[in-house]
Amino acid sequence: MSANEKKYDIEKMRKAHKVLKEFSYELKPVVKGYNDRTLYINLATLEIREKPVPALMKKKFIGGKGYDLKLLWDAVSGDTRWDSPENEICIATGPIAGNTNYPGSGKSLVTTISPQTGIPIDSNVGGHFGPYLKFSGFDAMEIQGKADRDVLIYIDGNQGKVQIMEAPLEATDSHVVAEQLHEMFAANEREKQHLSVVSAGRGSEHAWIGCLNFSYWDKRRKLPRLKQAGRGGIGTVFRNKKIKAMVVKYSGLTGKSNNPVDMETLQKTGLKLHKEIISLDDKQCHMRTIGTAHLVEIMNDYDLLPTKNFRFGSHPDAKNLASWVWKDMFTQNVPDGCWFGCTMSCAHGIDNFELRTGPYKGHKVLVDGPEYETVGGCGSNPAIFDPKAVVEINFYCDTYGLDTISFGTLTGFIMDCYENGILNRERCGGLEMTWGNWEAALEMMHQIARGEGFGLIAGKGIKFMQEYFAKEYGADAQFLKDIGMHGKGLEQSEYQSKESLAQQGGYYLTNKGPQHDEAWLIFMDMVNNQIPTFEKKAEALHYFPMFRTWFGLMGLCKLPWNDVEPADNAKYPEPNKVPEHVQNYVDIYNAITGDKIDKEELIRQSERVYNFQRVFNLKMGHGKRVEDHPPYRAMGPVTVEEYESRAERYDKALKEKQNIDPTGKSTEEKIRLLRQYREAQYESLIDAVFKRRGWSKDGVPTVEHLKEIGMDLPEVIELVKKHL
């Protein structure tokens, strides 16, 4: 009997299960990266069935996020809200997903109608669930309807069986339930690596920023690791449907599980990248030793690390959160990849971390991360410079099923409101939300998990709070708008975009809201000045979002694309695209599917889905130009303090860019002039980008453009016509 079995009464939990529905399906091998069927589950009617993927769907939507969005589109109407029973959670992989020899090939794409934005959200997540779902027989699964009590969904990919069962006794918090279920569903120690669990947590039950955790079994630590589908409240929808967890079991994985047409090219390309990573990572991005947290000091040096709710981009105490601090805390344990064969191995962990607060106080736990976004969001942005506090926030966000980016950004917002007198101790239910008060931030999170107090308000996100504070406390709505770092309802991720117009577009001209996964252009734009004109910026804001959408169609991770570069990358034209790696992707896609695409067709595949998602936003009553604007704090200094802290920079901008002599002008006047200019620049950027993307001035994809790219499905054309 293992230590875990003693820790939890697994037998008792198992006995309490009541199978509500069982479904058997025929096992078939994956062919050229596809199953050509998906799994449909309805929790209200207990219907479970398989659906064939029509040829047209495969051709236009390719896989991954494309499949998710297509299934979701068919399931919802324009009136569907996040908590409507017809809303779905869709999880898909893609033709490359599950490959074991090309780093970063194990991602799942998750979508739903977001509680925060009212439009589709998509998240790209590691862990083994997606690939195991695929090899169990399904390219995607959709979950519709709501259960009336806590249920567990179990997929046995070796027996061809899907079950929905009542699961009253398992924990809700992710670090516990994941461990319980790995234990429960594995016949022996070895089988634990053949399982993956998806779960949320108690926080997801009360907040709109709920996330999902996707597990994989860490053989060396003998514990489950958790990767997050973080953004936009997918965990909230999950708990609203009363899903406690989902488990998939599949054994039999090999390098050939995708049945590729050209194994040799696949292996050769994968091996080439493995070697590149192993030999160059120490000189380049340190993903294998530190992960994305290596960015902290770089961002701080370039004035890009958000501090005090994005007022500033650096802080003297940021050194307390620098990479060397994390390196000391991480228990080095290569391979730390979130899928097999990822030699990039960015997924680091801290072992035996003793918690200082909350229901698990005193427990020594394994914490996954922190990654850069978490350090920026939950550390520097609310001015929390105690690394242990950041780790604890990270831990509780994960186990409660809360998105660290949204939590960090909204905590910064709350502290800003507190300092500005919009909030006070009483309004915060006794919490003193001052800069750096990590204990108050954590207590607020525990309140979210308990569903009480100020936590209930905070957990609904910045957009909700803006309306609430204006209405309840008479706060200045314009000021709240200026300092509330969200777009379309989604909190911004953790880069300072004030000095990069292109990145403002990279954040706010996105489909789902300001997340950096579409385009990260700050260095190209601000540091290296490679895209000086509107046309060049627009080209970058076309190419990179389209290119990066493709990872989501495939089930790929972004990091091995440009977080390692071939040693001679700079020698080639357009090194920012990492041309050799783009060719690798074309090669492995063709090697698996037998298709013959080139790098132009790769962009076309993405363009179809990207435009479809834009039209989907329209379908949900959004998706127009008015919603594509940043809060002013993402563009320039809102307050006198901000202006004066970087006075030299802004004075220079007034002189050089606007031909205005700043001498003798009051700071307020200078702020106003700068703002006028920057807001006008942003409008010009929108014009250029929409034109390049084939959209109308109002941001609606034109019929001609949809025809040209081959996304002229009748329902899509019918919809855009109403808005053109």
């Binding site: 194994m263 994968g270 493995h274 391979p335």
Partner: protein, 130 residues
């Protein structure tokens, strides 16, 4: 640890070791399937490359398919291998091998078969301190 020591100066390039190795483990005479490789250098001498049991691959394997036995020999458990080739990339001496069409890598396990046959005394199985 037990390992196959090479004395390249003695090698005459007869390639017998490659035959012995591939025949023993793959039932065919095919240098691509030999865990030891004989390379002819520019100056007419020979170089031998074979695993020195350094264990770099052990740390890299995501499924713990690679282990070290009591004698210090590094072994691959085929049943656990998921064919990611990370070990191949991690091997500092390029002696974690693959063959075209193969999925599981292979390597020298210091079995001594080739050393026994080598007519020139270029190979000897030895024990060295860890």
């Amino acid at each position: 640890m037990k390992y196959l020591k090479t004395i390249a100066e003695n090698c005459t390039g007869c390639n017998l070791c490659m035959s012995v190795c591939s025949k023993l483990y793959f039932k065919e005479d095919n240098p691509e399937k030999s865990a030891i490789r004989v390379h002819r250098a520019a100056n007419g001498s020979y170089a031998l490359s074979v695993c020195d049991q350094c264990r770099a691959c052990v740390a890299e394997c995501p499924t713990q398919a690679i282990t070290v036995n009591k004698l210090g020999v590094v072994l691959i458990n085929k049943a656990l291998c998921i064919n990611c080739l990370a070990c191949v990339a991690a091997c500092p001496t390029g002696t974690m091998m693959t063959w075209r069409g193969g999925l599981v890598p292979f390597k020298c396990i210091a079995c001594d078969a080739c050393a026994k046959e080598c007519p020139s005394g270029a190979l000897v199985t030895e024990i060295k301190e860890d």
